[in-house]
């Protein structure tokens, strides 16, 4: 989707707050949100569905709410969509149904093992041979896609070079719809002056990790 989440290269934003405190959470509620997201969820969710739920936040809220506020909004909306909570329950803070059948909630002593086990492997073996090899010139597809898509607008239609091939990974576009499909994935390098009109003569480069169906021969 061509949402406001696709921020790369958008102009008009001001300076970065480089002096903020280094503490992981700036308000107590931010740590609670982080923890709630690590501890709750539904079995059929994928990381890409969760990201898509986040990018569906109202554009004004997406651009103005703090990161962990967006996480809370995402987790709440996803739990409602999956039938775990209702809007009314969240609004009133009062449960209107018996506790869910199912396993007990995560215990405190399960936290550190869970943090280590969250190393999810997204690589897959596929039969198809890779269409590109390192050094090939490619062009990113000019069109976006409905739903979740990890091809940023700023790279669309632009020419780059295959920098590395990383085997095949789960395709987020499908994964965000609850389907698993894998494609070859490549690091593609773009010269800055192929992306930005003001970058002429600047020797900077931008590397993106792009799936094969995001790319075509120039």
């Amino acid at each position: 989707m061509d949402g406001v989440h696709d921020l790369g290269g958008k102009e008009g934003f001001g300076p970065i707050d480089v002096d903020e405190p280094e503490t992981p959470f700036h308000y107590p509620w931010e740590g609670r949100v982080w923890a709630i997201v690590q501890s709750t969820g539904v079995a059929d969710w994928t990381i890409d569905w969760w990201r898509h739920v986040r990018e569906l936040i109202e554009p004004g809220d997406y651009l103005t709410r703090r990161y962990f506020d967006q996480w809370m909004q995402t987790q709440t909306a996803a739990l409602i969509d999956s039938g775990v909570l209702t809007v009314e329950e969240v609004s009133t803070g009062v449960s209107q149904s018996a506790p869910e059948a199912g396993g007990p909630p995560m215990r405190p002593d399960e936290v550190l093992p869970a943090a280590a086990s969250f190393a999810e492997d997204f690589s897959r073996e596929i039969d198809a041979a890779p269409a590109f090899t390192v050094g090939d010139r490619v062009r990113a597809r000019s069109m976006g896609a409905p739903g979740h898509c990890r091809l940023p607008q700023y790279a669309r239609g632009r020419a780059g070079v295959i920098h590395a091939h990383h085997g095949a990974h789960v395709l987020p576009d499908a994964s965000a719809q609850g389907e698993e499909r894998a494609e070859h994935i490549y690091s593609v390098v773009f010269e800055a002056d192929a992306l930005w009109p003001e970058a002429s003569g600047r020797r900077d480069r931008v590397f993106l990790d792009l799936w094969e169906s995001y790319l075509e021969r120039p």
């Binding site: 790369g8 290269g9 970065i16 509620w29 740590g31 709750t40 869910e100 792009l210």
Partner: protein, 216 residues
């Protein structure tokens, strides 16, 4: 059942926007107590997650990996070839690091990491991402004006240095291997790890020279 329907979720977001208080602390409190009431969440587990990412899982892990790479060429070779396996030697493999890549700064290359589409970050070795990393301003500007962003962090990059920006658009995560500062030959791994900052492993700091007057 999860719907996997964009329009349905967009409608839920609008309803939540209308019905919930604007103060996030109030909304989180209500959500936590609702989940506890439903038997889906234990508040002690929430405390344990906060503690884990405040005390245990943070940039000290990444600093340890960097200092090891500076002092042990064989470890550095393993880190550059297969970073997940190399960080797993210390038990640091975990959330968002199963496809980790290490990119090395040199005299002529500076690396900078961003996620323009969300805020992807190698949690298990760097902990919770800084707030600025997750802001719209950093996500928008890092790919387009990396030298301007770096200047705001006090990093001046000469014309002879190429800036490489890594936009984490997939499940690969990037860790910058900063340069070992000159004059640190007599420092051991632990002392060196003390010089490595979180920002230097994201790329918003370049020079890790000990501050003047600091004991070596």
């Amino acid at each position: 059942m999860t719907s996997f329907e964009s329009s349905r979720v967009a409608e839920i977001h609008r309803e939540l926007h209308t019905h919930l208080p604007s103060e996030p602390a109030l909304r989180v409190k209500a959500l936590e107590s609702l989940l506890v009431e439903k038997g889906l969440l234990d508040s002690r587990t929430v405390d344990a997650w906060v503690e884990a990412y405040t005390e245990e899982i943070g940039p000290k892990r990444g600093a340890h990996v960097v200092a090891k790479a500076w002092t042990d060429p064989a470890y550095k070779a393993r880190l550059m070839a297969d970073a997940p396996a190399a960080i797993d030697e210390f038990g640091y493999l975990g959330g968002a690091t199963s496809h980790l890549k290490v990119v090395e700064n040199t005299d002529t290359v500076h690396n900078l990491v961003v996620c323009t589409l969300c805020s992807c970050y190698p949690f298990s070795i760097l902990g919770i991402a800084p707030n600025w990393y997750k802001t719209a301003a950093y996500r928008a500007r890092a790919v387009r004006d990396p030298r301007g962003v770096l200047a705001e962090f006090g990093v001046e990059i000469g014309d002879e240095v190429e800036v490489r920006v890594w936009d984490s658009t997939a499940e690969l995560r990037y860790l910058v291997l900063p340069q070992r500062p000159a004059g640190t030959e007599d420092r051991d791994e632990t002392a060196l790890a003390g010089l490595v900052t979180r920002n230097s492993m994201i790329g918003t700091q370049r020079d890790l020279s000990p501050k003047t007057g600091e004991a070596s």
